[in-house]
Amino acid sequence: MKTLLEVNNLKKYFTTKYGMLHAVDDITFKLEAGKTLGVVGESGCGKSTLGRVILHLLNPTSGQIIFSGEDISSPSKAKLHELRKNMQMIFQDPFSSLNPRQTVAQTIGEPLEIYRVCKNKQEYSERVKEIMDVVGLAERFENSYPHELDGGRRQRIGIGRALALNPKFIVCDEPVSALDVSIQAQILNLMQDLQKQLNLTYIFITHDLSVVKHISNDIMVMYLGVMVEKTTTKELFEKQFHPYTKALLSAIPSANLDVNRERILLKGELTSPIEPEEACRFAPRCQYAEEICHSKQPKPIEVVPNHFVACHLVKEINQL
């Protein structure tokens, strides 16, 4: 399989009045075409920032982004315009990410106008109808405004807008977390179908591990700006090596009464990402933490083939 996206040592720091906030700190990964990478973590772990930096909605502090074999770390304005055709985003909140004064057709058609992809009005309206059909919006909603529609349909508009230019790569930032479960299932199925039909590559950002299990090929778990574990979905749900991933997985309430619910309760809450000390970021909440964890930041190592873990004690904890 061809590598579509490669990210090397990507960093994004924000300046705050208390110091530098390390939102994304030294992230490296590769993503093959047609695959989905799930990025999981709790609020404030930098997962949305990562997605935005890759799309150049935010400029990276340092590091390299390679898309289709081309270095796009610091593109020119014209280059960026060209790139956006291939890289799109689906936003979290279908209520605030749509222009309330544009109809469904206008919202979906706007990218087509900006990129002047249609020769004439007829082709334009046909393309809009085609996209609406693809995302499952009935033609009668063409002239509806977002406030007239429910959350599921609004999210379909957001997906349609992202698909309008036939992109190769889409960053989905919590696309289903604002939706009810029955609607959530419809949207997830739609996104899976579209991926197969159009050979799309997704980065799927979410805090919901059960959703990510469903849709991803690979999963990356983030904690306070750093990657703590990354491997294939199957492997991750079979064995987790990082203590944070273990706790995260055990914390999901399951609707299955017969599942053995042994729970690892984490103490405390996220520590501050502002000027973090040279130490494992998870150490203050980790039950295994030893001296080395408080003095040195662990680098991700490949513990078993294609399973990366950033933990000093990974061997001891998991008896490897």
Binding site: N189, L257, L265
Partner: protein
């Protein structure tokens, strides 16, 4: 355990907006016994929060009004109480945890004062005594007492929700209504808060009405569960009956739409269509437009809530047949 602490009979609540009548709740009946935790599950607009607000006597009127029904708390009808009497019950006998911890605290009062306020309102205690009790409440929910004088913005989301829980429990209520208490929280923090609620429930023997859309949370803390759809209860029973022997097509659909970390299935089974518009509910069974088993009869008559096995009630014409097929 056998005493019926809360009993709702055939409650009907409507909101009147312009000329439309929005039928938010269409005749629900519920019972919560001493020490029982009942989960109320449904999607947005199913009427879960309206049910909670009715119990608290907090339905905004206008536009809302309770058209029919009775709500008995310890055999007294709450709907007949004066506002003055209700104020004595709210916070003291029945307390509520609201959904969004970010907006349900007063930003210009310290968290300690907000807990103390409830204690002083309902108990004849001195300022010092109230402060002391408020500090104890903070510590009970896992926040150091020294943080008494801090403001809500100095706390994280999970801690704010703990403060809200501390306020609700400050007067040791007999019934706690928790409206989506963990929805705004991250999973690891959610696990902490659920754990805390379970401990408090055991310690104080509080009865609880837990409103949520997350069946996983219900499995975690509830004894019994009621599933709501379009302002009606479509299935209720103890948790093992409803989870292991699911009967209503909507409940089944809900279970199938949850991506489960423990299952291997590739594709989710979704419920087609959307929740019906509450100002224009369909005739017959409210769920029939989305139901894969519907027949002509479903479009005509709205089924009664029938008892299929002891304590397990279902509102579906064909529920019994499904059992026999099994």
């Amino acid at each position: 355990m056998d005493n019926e602490l809360l009993k709702i009979n055939n409650l009907v609540v409507q909101y009147i907006v312009d000329r439309d009548v929005i039928e938010a709740i269409n005749g629900i009946s519920l019972t919560i016994h001493d020490g029982e935790t009942l989960g109320l599950v449904g999607e947005t607009g199913a009427g879960k929060t309206t049910t909670a607000l009715s119990i608290m006597g907090l339905i905004p009127n206008p536009p809302g009004k309770i058209a029919e029904g009775e709500i008995y708390y310890n055999n007294e009808n709450l709907l007949k109480k004066s506002e003055k009497d209700m104020r004595k019950i709210r916070g003291k006998e029945i307390a509520m945890i609201f959904q969004d911890p970010m907006t349900s605290l007063n930003p210009v009062l310290t968290v300690g004062d907000q807990i103390m306020e409830v204690i002083k309102l309902h108990n004849k205690v001195s300022q010092e005594e109230a402060t002391l009790r408020a500090k104890k409440m903070l510590e009970m929910v896992g926040i150091p007492g020294e943080r008494y004088n801090e403001y809500p913005h100095q706390f994280s989301g999970g801690m704010k929700q703990r403060v809200v829980i501390a306020i609700a429990l400050a007067c040791n209520p007999k019934l706690l209504i928790a409206d989506e208490p963990t929805t705004a929280l991250d999973v690891t923090i959610q696990a902490q808060v659920l754990d805390l609620m379970k401990k408090l429930k055991e310690e104080f023997k509080t009865s609880m009405l837990l409103i949520t859309h997350d069946l996983g949370v219900v499995a975690e803390v509830c004894d019994s569960v009621a599933i709501m759809y379009s302002g009606e209860i479509v299935e209720k029973g103890n948790i093992s009956d409803v989870f292991r022997n699911t009967l209503h097509p909507y409940t089944k659909g809900l279970f199938n739409s949850i991506p489960d970390v423990n299952s291997e299935s590739e594709r989710l089974e979704s419920i087609p269509g959307m929740v019906s518009d509450p100002s224009n509910l369909p005739k017959g069974c409210k769920f029939h437009p989305r139901c894969q088993y519907k027949t002509a009869a479903c479009e005509e008559q709205n089924p009664e809530l029938r008892e299929i096995s002891p304590g397990h009630l279902v509102r579906c014409l064909y529920a019994k047949q499904t059992i026999e097929e099994k």
